[in-house]
């Protein structure tokens, strides 16, 4: 980074730098392999025959590529229903949570009202609450409201995101107060200010909130495990666990299905990296 022009360096310094680069490159490669190896192994298992996996020998690649596992999974389980459930629930939760976070974030960043501090901290405190603390009573409430057995049993309890609210408030603080005051003096109501001044300035924020919520809901496990007890309602992680129980040691089939859970979201994650990274990093910025 501190680029000292190479030509003024003595050969000795240049050699040290080359060695250092080689060492660092090796370390980075090892780290990348440690991360990739288990994922690679998932692929191998998904496309290897059962006999090959149960055989005692060590094989680092499939001897013969087979789609038998994929066919077995898609043939015996409603994979497309579960995929559809995951897509639908994730999108609905993402849209709802982005909307609520933006609205709440605006109120906390730019409106003054009694109880704002108490409300904000109550919301933030829910961030550290493990779902296992409240799961039994939450289950009773969800059942009492008649939501059990529907997608809403997962959607409504996860739609309000304290994390999103926090992120939105922090980001909206950077919308200049004068801009809002000026619009207010021109007679614009708060909803109008929100819609036509704050929202257009919040496009990167909206992307961050959307992708963070999508990722979290897509991979959510603990609550859906309790709330979705019916096969037809399963999301992919719950389906994956169910399938593992059914197939027991049929790792090939389990991994073929795991790919349906992992591949789409990793692709989205890598394609829109900068928004995810901004979201995670922002979560860390004090």
């Amino acid at each position: 980074m501190t680029a000292v022009p190479t030509r003024v360096l003595s050969p000795a310094v240049r050699r040290t730098r080359r060695v250092s680069l080689a060492v660092r490159l090796t370390l980075a490669t090892v780290a990348a392999l440690v991360i990739l190896a288990p994922l690679y192994w998932m692929l191998v298992v998904a496309f290897s025959s059962r006999a090959e996996l149960l055989g005692g020998q060590l094989r680092l690649w499939p001897r013969s590529f087979t789609l038998a596992n994929v066919e077995r999974v898609f043939g015996s389980f409603p994979v497309f229903t579960w995929l559809g459930n995951s897509v639908a629930i994730s999108l609905v939760v993402a849209v709802l949570s982005v909307t609520l976070s933006l609205m709440g974030g605006y109120a906390f960043a730019h409106l003054r009202f009694p109880g704002s501090t108490a409300l904000f901290f109550t919301a933030i405190a829910t961030l550290v609450l493990p779902i296992q603390v409240i799961m039994v009573s939450l289950f009773r409430i969800v059942t009492g409201l008649g939501l059990y057995g529907t997608y809403w049993a997962v959607i409504l309890p996860t739609a309000a995101s304290a994390f999103g609210l926090f992120l939105a408030r922090q980001s909206m603080l950077s919308v200049p107060r004068e801009l809002i005051e000026a619009a207010r003096i021109d007679g614009a109501g708060h909803w109008r200010v929100f819609r036509s001044i704050v929202l257009p300035l919040s496009k990167p924020l909206i992307a961050v909130l959307f992708f963070m919520s999508l990722l979290q809901t897509w991979n959510d496990f603990a609550w859906p495990l309790i709330a979705l007890r019916e096969n037809r309602l399963f999301t992919l992680p719950i389906g994956l666990l169910f399938l593992q129980g059914q197939f027991n040691s049929d790792y090939g089939a389990t991994m073929a299905f795991a790919l349906v859970n992992v591949v789409p979201i990793v692709a989205v994650f890598l394609a829109f990296q900068r928004y995810f990274v901004a979201g995670f990093v922002r979560s860390g910025i004090k």
């Binding site: 780290a31 991360i35 990739l36 192994w41 060590l58 296992q132 990722l215 496990f221 990093v281």
Partner: protein, 309 residues
């Protein structure tokens, strides 16, 4: 990459005008917040109160319970599985937090230096953040299974002793720790990278003429300046580790013989498998106490003093 969301402006003095009680602004604010308040109230606050009440009851299945005072809490004191789960939770939290943060820092320093394909390396290292806990745990099964897992086969191929990753307690515990470190290190690296990018090169230049070597520069310049990132990561990793559920539930189910049971899995098993809901709620309350202590710690030391105004 951090400039997508600008940093909030410094703390502002309160605007001169006093807030009018229940003026239009107040109503507008409540309007904007009402959906959030309704959902958080109904699905978090009310269940929390319910859980507190439930923790003082003896229950039968999902029926109504009877109040038994502090019986559930008294029972916890003499419950060996509870203590085992608590100890496991603490050990897990300490080991995973320390190891994944140290690795995350090392990777951040490495990938902040001049390196070919640096962006590619960074992308690879954060991939686990997008993999679900269930899938991560199942991949863990593939690697560690003591009959068909790849790791034992590899160990055997190199003439090393193999381990009973499922049936022995300590190897099973090591399994959940290793899988979680694989899953979590990328996040720590990301936060540290952001911290490193905030350190200007001039600081290193200043240290160079003093003859400071790489290690001295790391210790005397980098590490202190990463203090806020470190503090934040400690709190976050502790909170996340306390809530570790997916990995343990899928990979070991808390076994063998509770060797990997943690508070959240024990609370789940008690509430939804043995259906002892009052007792599960009491375990939950203990969990919450820990979470709250760390939340307060974060709040007090966080630099977001502007939140308090």
């Amino acid at each position: 990459m951090t400039d997508l969301l600008e940093a909030p402006p410094p703390v502002e003095a309160a605007p001169p005008r006093a807030p009018r009680r229940f003026g239009r602004e107040t109503w507008a604010a409540y309007g904007f917040l009402s959906p959030t308040v309704v959902l958080l109230g109904l699905f978090v606050i009310v269940p929390l109160v319910g859980a507190l009440l439930l923790s003082f009851q003896r229950t039968n299945g999902f029926g109504d319970g009877e109040f038994v005072g502090l019986d559930n809490y008294a029972r916890m004191v003499t419950d060996p599985v509870f203590w085992r789960s608590l100890a496991n939770t603490v050990v897990f939290t300490v080991v995973v937090t320390a190891a994944s943060m140290a690795l995350g820092l090392a990777m951040a320093v490495l990938l902040n230096s001049v390196l070919p394909a640096r962006g590619l390396f960074r992308s690879i290292l954060i991939i686990p953040m997008a993999v679900s806990g269930v899938a991560t745990a199942l991949i863990g099964v593939l690697v560690f299974d003591q009959n068909t897992g790849i790791l034992d086969k590899l160990l055997a191929a190199f003439g090393l002793p193999t381990l009973n990753w499922q049936s022995d307690g300590i190897p099973a515990f090591v399994t959940i720790v290793l899988v979680t470190i694989w899953w979590r290190t990328g996040f720590n690296m990301l936060i540290y990278l952001a911290g490193l990018q905030g350190i200007g090169p001039d600081l290193y230049e200043a240290a160079r003429p003093d003859g400071a070597g790489a290690w001295a520069r790391f210790r005397n310049v980098t590490l202190p300046l990463l203090g806020p990132s470190t503090f934040f990561l400690v709190v976050l990793n502790v909170i996340y580790s306390f809530q570790v559920f997916d990995i343990v539930f899928v990979l070991t189910g808390g076994g063998p013989q509770n060797a990997t049971s943690v508070l959240v899995t024990y609370a789940y098993d008690t509430g939804f498998v043995t259906r002892d809901q009052g007792y599960a709620a009491a375990i939950g309350m203990v969990l919450m106490l820990f979470a709250l202590v760390f939340a307060l710690l974060q709040w007090r030391s966080s630099r977001t003093r502007d939140l308090v105004e």
